[in-house]
Symmetry: C2
Subunit: 421 residues, 2 copies
């Protein structure tokens, strides 16, 4: 049952979770780090494996970022009801039928840290590699769940109208794919876009977006868009809106842009005022900004594991935080109810049968009524109301596709929920 | 006595302190900011006036940075003994003989914020423009005073030997200007270097350093050093070491490199462990890192005004912080005693008669026994033991030379010290 030194994904071999521990490998150690242990923006290898095991706990050291201030109050207290032994020893069967232990599976999924809350108390908390309890880690697309939850709250408050099309708020988007897209479909990623998001394919549109946003180095003579709100109006339509779920990060950027334009507040300010401060987060978060200063709502957030868990706990408590309604309960209910599994099925996620996608959360419709924030390379915020459980898990998995760790992670989290239920 | 709308320096006219308020001018406002109100790294105009009035409160948004963690303790309390009216109305004569009021002089020096402590209590605190009490601001060369104070502590503890030459610690520096330079002379900037530091001259060596450190954009086809520890060994000697004070930022980079190599801890870790955490700072600080991850000890630090004031207060209390010796008293005494005014005089600072330079502090030898951390564009940490006073002042003055605001600032701070004495 012990972890093998090597793991294989899509026919490629990778050092395992223990063998790729970044301190042991010497990444960015020394003054200066030796050339072959240096991780720089220019190299464009910062998200390659095994460098990524260092990078995801240090995003601000390679890119410009804006601070999400926690405010100056005392952090909210997370009580403890430690159950480490029981959780560690929990046995489960992965989707391939292999028997695993909870603790060993953390290495096999390249976990950087995990916090489990049960009834709001920490029952399990571990850190690996570069991550520490006070260090923010890349959330990648869990950023979307934060942003869209705030957007849904603004809709609930009447600040935004989800039925309005994007150009109602952003006239400059009139000629783009979003010209006839209502905000509601953008929030649920049901737009028809001539845009692909395949990280393994270097010709995929996602790279064009990343270069525009300044998230990736630009080749000499680069003539593309130089910031994200310059790129978005260039997007063209493909197919019809509202037919199917199609996961495309640019939807979140458009949504965040609408929020910023209408409220006059950047996503950084909204996250501070509406989540970080009222939740009593322990540490400031931060978010990558593009060269025009726009916070990357599609995936730029870094937060500590406990602060991520606080957000999950807020959702589990239907938006109530110790007597204060921080997010409208209706927004949480709407998220939990999810959307059409039939529209979701068209996207072809064979590992996520019966799921739907709502307000940029992945809704399992499973026995725990769980819904998830999901980010590439293994980021997860798993909210399981029927188990009164929240799991926040950061990882730096070699493969930029959730399918690489879902066969272990999905049954692992479900088994824990069943145990705690 | 009111501020004029325009000010003139070296024959150039600039909008005054009030007229250049960045919010009013609309810098980086809007989603996205309009093209003519955008401040980007690539433009290389982020430190130009009036953009600089925004940039110095937002350095992390244009460059990669590392966090200086405050720790998870309660911030240390700064008591208040407000004396705003008295301080505002304080009259003084500037070095040109113009009569001024304290409050108006703040605008005339493009002040972003000022905190005055008297006997450890806040008697005066104001913020302008982009700066807020929880927002870190660029310290520029006050960074040096932080770094060298820690270096002097390491010497005091015997971790470093100030008489050893640099190659004793950094063999790769053997062929450079620092090949025969003892650490002591580096700490006091008495090295003889073929290196100029004139911000107004775009051919000055300081720009080569800045490009190597990634602090400035690199022209297409750039073939110079790509990180700071690659640049430093290339420096050549000019004249002899130990003859004169010569202010050159590369000394601090060499010193910081020695500290990191010997302690195995980066400047970020040292600042956290030895200052931010023990002082109970209110907010995390941060420091710009070069493309190899090296923190820029020469000028990369950003801190809040109150946390800067805490460091000044620590020095005023001879290293004692509420009963704990955070910095050895001997280090503070050695700093206060200063060095040779004769060697200092050779550097030609006509506005700073009788000064010396020790442990990267500017020692006034004036009636208040004051010593200063000084950073371009008006950053000041003025510690005046005989007045039991500390002034922390951030500014974004149009001119990158202290001489531009010294004619006002020096008599202004001295007058306040005399009033509080």
């Amino acid at each position: 049952m012990a972890e093998s030194q090597w793991q294989e994904f899509d026919g490629k071999r990778y050092a395992g979770g223990r063998a790729s521990e970044p301190r042991d490998l010497g990444w960015m150690r020394g003054a200066p780090p030796p050339a072959d242990k240096r991780i720089t923006f220019e190299s464009d290898a910062f998200y390659d494996f095994p460098q990524i095991r260092w990078t995801l706990s240090h995003a601000r050291e390679i890119a410009p970022t804006a601070s999400i201030w926690r405010g100056n109050g005392t952090p909210s207290r997370l009580e403890r009801a430690e159950a480490k032994g029981d959780v560690d020893a929990l046995a489960f069967s992965d989707l391939n039928g292999t028997q695993r232990r909870f603790d060993e599976a953390l290495y096999d999924t390249y976990t950087d840290g995990i916090v489990v809350l049960h009834r709001g108390r920490i029952v399990y908390e571990r850190y690996f590699g570069e991550l520490q309890d006070h260090v923010p880690h890349s959330c990648f697309s869990i950023t979307k769940s934060y942003a869209a939850t705030l957007c849904a709250a603004l809709v609930h408050e009447g600040v935004l109208d989800a039925d309005k099309t994007i150009p109602h708020y952003l006239p400059e988007m009139g000629g783009s794919a979003f010209g006839d897209a209502p905000l509601r479909l953008v929030m649920d990623m049901q737009t028809g876009l001539d845009y692909t998001e395949v990280y393994a394919d270097r010709t995929s549109s996602i790279w064009e977006y990343a270069r525009a946003a300044g998230l990736r180095p630009r080749p000499p003579g680069y003539a593309g868009a130089t910031f994200v709100t310059d790129y978005l109006p260039k997007l063209r339509k493909q197919g019809e809106h509202g037919q199917a779920f199609a996961y495309k990060t640019v939807n979140t950027e458009v949504m965040s842009w609408v929020m910023a334009r209408v409220t006059g507040r950047s996503l950084v300010q909204l996250l501070h005022e509406r989540l970080w401060a009222p939740l009593g987060c322990e540490e400031d978060g931060y978010i990558i900004v593009d060269p025009a200063g726009t916070p990357m709502g599609g995936g730029g957030l870094s937060a500590t594991l406990r602060d991520l868990a606080r957000f999950g706990e807020l959702m589990r408590r239907e938006g109530d935080w110790h007597g204060k309604q921080v997010v409208p309960a209706a927004v949480v209910h709407d998220t939990q109810r999810g959307d059409s599994p039939a529209k979701f099925a068209k996207a072809g996620y064979t590992l996520l049968p019966g799921y739907s996608y709502r307000n940029m959360w992945w809704v399992t419709h499973n026995e725990l009524d769980a819904f998830e924030g999901r980010g590439i390379h293994g980021q997860r915020l798993y909210v399981a109301p029927k188990a009164e459980m929240v799991i926040a898990r950061f990882a730096s998995h070699p493969v930029a596709a959730s399918s690489a760790n879902d066969p272990i992670t999905l049954p692992q989290f479900l088994a824990l929920g069943r145990m705690l239920k």
